[in-house]
Amino acid sequence: MFRFDDFVSAAVSAARRHGYAVLLSRSLFVSGCVGLVLALGVRFAPLSSSATEITLLVLLAMALAVPLVLTLIASRRAYRVPQILFDLDRKLDLEARISSLHVLSASNPSSVFYDRLAYAVEEGSEGWRRVYRLSPRTWSQFAVGLMCAISIVVLVIIGEADRIAAPSVSSDVAATASADPADSATADVEDLLDERQSADEAPGDWIALALEDLLAARDPEQASESEVPEDFDAAEVESYTAALLKSLREDGARPLSDDELDRLSALSEAAPMDLRGALEAVLLEDDPEEVQDQLDLISEYARQQAQLAEMLIAEEGSDLDETSGYLPQPGPGASDEEGTYPMSGFGDESDTAPSLVEAPLPGQLGEAGEVYEYITGGVPIDFPTNGEVPDENRRPTVDYARVQTILDTRALPQDAFATVRRYFELISSEGEP
């Protein structure tokens, strides 16, 4: 016995479910694709990790919430049974028989046409549920939308991993990169990489991140961080950190005293941004051995800065900040004639032409007299300190230990080091450029 009312109820329910599914699929497809595109844009945009993560979470929420909200709104909307039945008529090619029977059942169920129509509907509507099967297109849209949402989740997870690793990386890198004008940054990168790899993370990611952080620290646009306070004295930093280091080594592994911490804090406040970061990292460090290592780096860096400043005052003076004794950094686009450049372990990769750094002392070239040597910026160079060797022998030399560190940092093959070393030896007559 064909019960038209039951048929209508089932058809309306199926139509509504089908409509919701189609709406959900389409909206998930659209919102997922849009969300993924925006998420990729955010992921590679120059935003802080926390801002990126928040934005990604918002996009993920939107990608998932928009379809659900739309479906919820659609479910709240009144639906028109006649229209649903007429659509079913069309899909089953029943020539409005279901709709007509619905009209009759509501207005004149005793009509002479009721039975004829009921019979025709019963015959013609066999397998009507196939009408409401989801089409491959709908399934495809759903799958693509879901994959887009999952991709956003993956981006969020990656961002979260970055954020978790970011504090130690940032502080360490800040400490090392802040000392970047000298060689301490490059020396410490190796330690950083070791630490990160020991955290069982993907080495490639850490290397990429370390380079990113270091390059960001070396970004000329962040040169403001290297502005030298007027009351900064590199020699003072060098002498205190050296003395403190000596004291710590004599006393064995001990934490810093309050006085020592206060003094380091005072020095950091007067230091330029990069060195300040390194000093603050020492203040926050609990491991006495780590403190000693970092103080060693800071002391060495401050010593070199003091030496360079002293030499430049003696030789040129014009480019030196005499008040601080700190070697100023060239600004963006600065030419080699506008300022000297510290012997950094990392060149500015954004520069299309290498910057040249003038050697502090002139060299001799036979009878031609004095020759001012220029060294490509970014090549890790050591200058003998004043008094270590006679002035005529004070020549900059390539620091191959830092070269090795740079190459390792950039994940270059080991045999690259031999090539690089051979190159410098050839052009500098056995190590003296």
Binding site: F86, E95, A96, R97, S100, F113, R116
Partner: protein
Amino acid sequence: MSTQQDVQATMDMFGRLQSAIASVIVGHQSIVQLALIALLCEGNVLVEGVPGLGKTLLVRAMGSALSLKFSRIQFTPDLMPADIIGTDILTEEDGHRQFTFSPGPLFANIVLADEINRATPKTQSALLEAMQERTVTVRATTYPLDEPYIVLATQNPIEMEGTYPLPEAQVDRFMLKAVISYPTLDELTEITIRNTEGQGITLPEPVASKDDIIAARQIVREIPVAEALRSYAARLVHATRPSDPSAPGRVRDFVEYGASPRAAIALIMAAKAHALLEGQPNVRPADIEAMLVPAVVHRLLLNFRGEAEGVTVPELLDDIQKAITV
């Protein structure tokens, strides 16, 4: 309340009726069908065609097959309203003189108003009450007309000199308009055979009665129309109006006045009757589409630009049908 047997009997009856008329009229099945639809829907039909195409014979054959009273009025410019509706005449009975109503030719079941556009508007207007209300009022007395009642009016589209185009109010009262075209070569050959051999044209024997027609009208009204199709018919009619946003561009450009609500009523009713004659238990989209032109074509008034550019109303209705979907 109709029964299944009534429905079957009605369909059988209309089958016999179509066969009976077809025994006299060669071709023109669509015109016969429109006349029967109008009969089922209590409507009137305006038949347009050149002389000699069998319009009068069609109406006579219908009257004969239906066993209904048939009258024919040849409209001329000097025809007066009293000539068609009847008048009071002075009679004397038992020494008393009194006015007695003498019914005109409108008092029949099937009225053929031949060349209706040759009569003056005054006489044409005398048909209005009969066509719409199925009554005739003479002086202060209203006389009901016998059911079933149908007016089939013809007009000649080519001899326009000395004619009076039907006023819009009267045109609107025709439920359907049928255009009789020339017969095909085979039909023409058959016509010559029927008219020149044997005993010539013989009108068919009655195959249905008044009561059959009245019962069939009740059945037609019971045929259900889906809500979506009712809406479809309304939208089709609405789109004939130039001000309607859904009207096609050519309708907005070339139509002065669109169809009246009577058009929608006529369309739905005609679709119902069409479905019944097709043996269907309900109105289908095809029924509405088949009846669109006959039910609406005479209700659209083209503007000057449309007339000047030779636009035809069926073309515009075709545009509407393409623009409006179910």
